[in-house]
């Protein structure tokens, strides 16, 4: 019988919580100073582009221009903008969203990736493969790294990058951690073999740059990899 007294409280609390957004939303509706927002956005834009200062991400800059206005018996005309055709008096967000980039960036990336591949193939570097969920170096991996270490030691001017890769199973985020563990396991073994650590860097690509895109163990085993690359560019 004790529960009888207790039970209504969560219900009441729940109802209150459910209703509370209504109150705050209504309060917010009467606000919405478009001009202040635009000025702030202009300021944010003017100082943008550097890592030394970045814009206010707190809710103080919240865009209220798109607030709902409720139904009206004699509704006023609401002009909707966005969709890449911003007209005057736009009242919705949907601000034009555009890809902005360094136009030569993608081409430069591609050229450098090709150069890295060519240099790595010419060096005859061998990759290391891992079992499911694991980042320990197998016997086969040790053999590969032994020959890699010899090449690296006889080419002391080369900077090497060790990429950690994973198969498509598991989450994107955790595979980045797993990929880093694999890359670091490879680096640590190379250092054990006498490679100078300053010549090695690691980067994890998780499951985002697979060598093989089919579903199945054949591809999965190809993608669980420590990939050795001769660094080109920065």
């Amino acid at each position: 019988m004790k529960t009888l007294v207790v039970t209504p409280l969560p219900v009441i609390l729940g109802v209150l919580l459910l209703l509370s957004p209504a109150c705050s939303r209504k309060a917010v509706q009467s606000g919405g100073d478009t001009r202040a927002l635009q000025e702030e956005m202009a300021r944010g834009g003017a100082k943008g582009g550097t890592s030394s200062s970045f814009p206010d991400t707190s809710l103080s800059g919240k865009d209220e221009t798109s607030s709902l206005r409720g139904f009206d018996r004699n509704p006023l005309e609401e002009r909707l903008g966005g969709g890449g055709h911003n007209g005057n008096g736009t009242v919705t967000p949907g601000n034009t969203l555009m890809a902005k980039s360094d136009p030569g960036g993608a081409a430069r990336q591609l050229a450098e990736i090709r150069a890295e591949q060519t240099a790595s193939t010419a060096a005859g570097l061998r990759d290391v493969f891992f079992t499911y969920d694991s980042f320990s170096i197998t016997d086969e991996g040790r053999h590969a790294l032994t020959s890699d270490a010899e090449w690296i030691k006889s080419n002391p001017l080369v900077q090497l990058k060790i990429e950690g890769h994973c198969d498509e199973r598991g989450t994107s985020a955790y595979n980045l951690v797993l990929g880093e563990k694999r890359a670091k396991a490879v680096r640590n073994y190379l250092v054990e073999l006498g490679v100078v650590p300053q010549h090695l860097s690691v980067v994890s690509y998780g499951k985002e740059r697979p060598f093989c895109t089919e579903h199945g163990e054949h591809c999965y085993s190809m993608n669980r990899r420590g990939h050795l690359v001769v660094k080109v560019g920065k």
């Binding site: 969560p10 729940g14 809710l59 139904f71 993608a106 994107s172 985020a173 980067v203």
Partner: protein, 446 residues
């Protein structure tokens, strides 16, 4: 004897009532999961086509297009039950701004709200403005409670429907609705992965970055103006960048060696939580976005990543492999009070705290080694598996109303983006083009 029977019967009824109330209280926020949740019966009588207006695609009439979008929005709101207007005797073309005699019959058949409207282009000119009028009749008041008049170019006809749907949800729940929300995601372009944003229903995708390499795991700022994400500079190092959607402007927030992944802005936007391995293995950090002061939250030999803020901003859920395989943990926002949340299975990751605070969605590996979505309460008392079947499910993200989850899955072969209700119903695929769409993240409501 009869008195005792009566007392027993009364007691049983009381216990029954208590049980009903209690089960209701436990689920009070997960309304959509309740079979007895009373949706409001709503009939869309039709959006009449005016003046033979043509949509940009031609042929399909503007009114019909708006009506179709409106119906989908209303259905997905999970606030209304769409009533079939056939047989109710309502003729949209004859409706004005006053209640129609035909509504009486509809109300007798259980309809609470009737919606209708008209749409057309002002002149015959293709570039002219589209006009849409919409009206709402409420059976409780027995009157037309109001309407909306929208005007805009042909490119915003879907937005007219979305906005009208959100006004309906707003009127009947006090919440803004999700029809105008957006989903940011990652899509493959060649061998690169770039950021995109689309409407919540998968329409109008727009490319945000064109770096030619990897951009991963975007998250929204609470004011919807920015995305934070991981970007690879020169392929060799990871930074955490901030991108302003309106103009593509970018700022670098975190630039250190090692992994710098899974950024997440706090609900008030004042803090950025992220994972970085710059001091060894992946640990959680918290940056004050005003002072840029960085505080380390975790210290242990395992990898800590994927922080997701509780709506209160006082706690975070995150992934950690400190106890072997990845598991979901909770931590206070100051780094204290770390405790493990998931114990079932040997792989639980990518937690997403619901906007109502009562559930955490995450990726759980089943005994059959399938990666599916699970839900767990923050006290760990209740756990349910949300998705089943083949394919790797990843990156759950909640709709701002807490009634849907968007996620990526390889269920159909290539990775695409799907939406599901929190009760496991209405699984819908929302991307159909591209070779790899992943890491969806649902915007806050506006």
């Amino acid at each position: 004897m009869t008195l005792r029977t009566l007392v027993i019967a009364g007691f049983c009824a009381m216990v029954g009532l208590v049980w009903i109330i209690e089960s209701g209280a436990a689920d009070v926020f997960l309304e959509a999961a309740r079979p007895d949740f009373q949706k409001i019966p709503l009939a869309i009588a039709g959006i009449e086509n005016l003046g033979g207006a043509e949509s940009p695609e031609g042929r399909v009439k503007l009114g019909s297009r708006i009506e179709e979008v409106l119906k989908t929005d209303v259905r997905r709101s999970l606030v209304f039950a769409l009533v079939d207007v056939n047989g109710l005797g309502i003729k949209a073309g004859q409706l004005g701004a006053e209640p129609d005699p035909s509504f009486k019959h509809a109300v007798e058949n259980g309809v609470s709200v009737v919606v209708w409207g008209r749409a057309g282009i002002k002149s015959g000119n293709k570039d002219s403005d589209v006009n849409m009028d919409g009206y709402v009749y409420d059976a409780g008041n027995n009157e037309v409670v109001g309407g909306k008049r929208y005007v805009g170019s042909t490119s915003v006809v879907r937005l007219m429907a979305h906005r009208f749907a959100d006004e309906l949800v707003f009127r009947y729940t006090g919440e803004p609705g999700i029809a105008r929300t957006k989903i940011a995601y990652v899509s493959e372009l060649g061998s690169a992965r770039e950021l995109f944003v689309m409407d919540y229903d998968g329409y109008d995708p727009r490319q945000l970055t064109a770096d030619g390499f990897l951009n991963l795991m975007p998250r929204w700022s609470p004011d919807r103006r920015f995305l934070v994400f991981t970007t690879y500079r020169n392929r060799n190092t990871q930074d955490i960048d901030l991108l302003e959607l309106a103009n593509g402007k970018r700022w670098t927030l975190v630039s250190q060696g090692g992994l710098n992944i899974t950024p997440a802005l706090s609900p008030d936007g004042n803090f950025l939580a992220y994972s970085s391995s710059s001091e060894g293995n992946a640990e959680l950090y918290r940056m004050d976005t005003h002072t840029k002061a960085v505080q380390r939250l975790t210290t242990n030999a395992g990898g800590d990543l994927s922080p997701s803020w509780a709506p209160s901003g006082r706690e975070l859920a995150f992934t950690s492999d400190r106890s072997g395989g990845p598991q979901v943990f909770l931590i206070s926002a100051d780094g204290s009070n770390v405790r493990r949340l998931t114990f079932e299975g040997d792989y639980n990751a990518a937690p997403a705290w619901s906007p109502r605070g009562n559930w955490i969605a995450y990726v759980c590996r089943t005994p059959r080694k399938e990666y599916k979505l699970c839900l767990i309460t923050p006290d760990g008392q209740k756990r349910v598996q949300l998705t089943t079947g083949p394919g790797v499910d990843d990156s759950p993200s909640w709709s701002p109303d807490g009634r849907h989850i968007v996620f990526s899955s390889t269920a159909d072969g290539k990775s695409h983006i799907y939406m599901i209700n929190t009760d496991g119903k209405d699984l819908e695929r929302i991307t159909f083009t591209g070779t790899h769409n992943s890491a969806p993240t649902w915007s806050p409501a506006s």
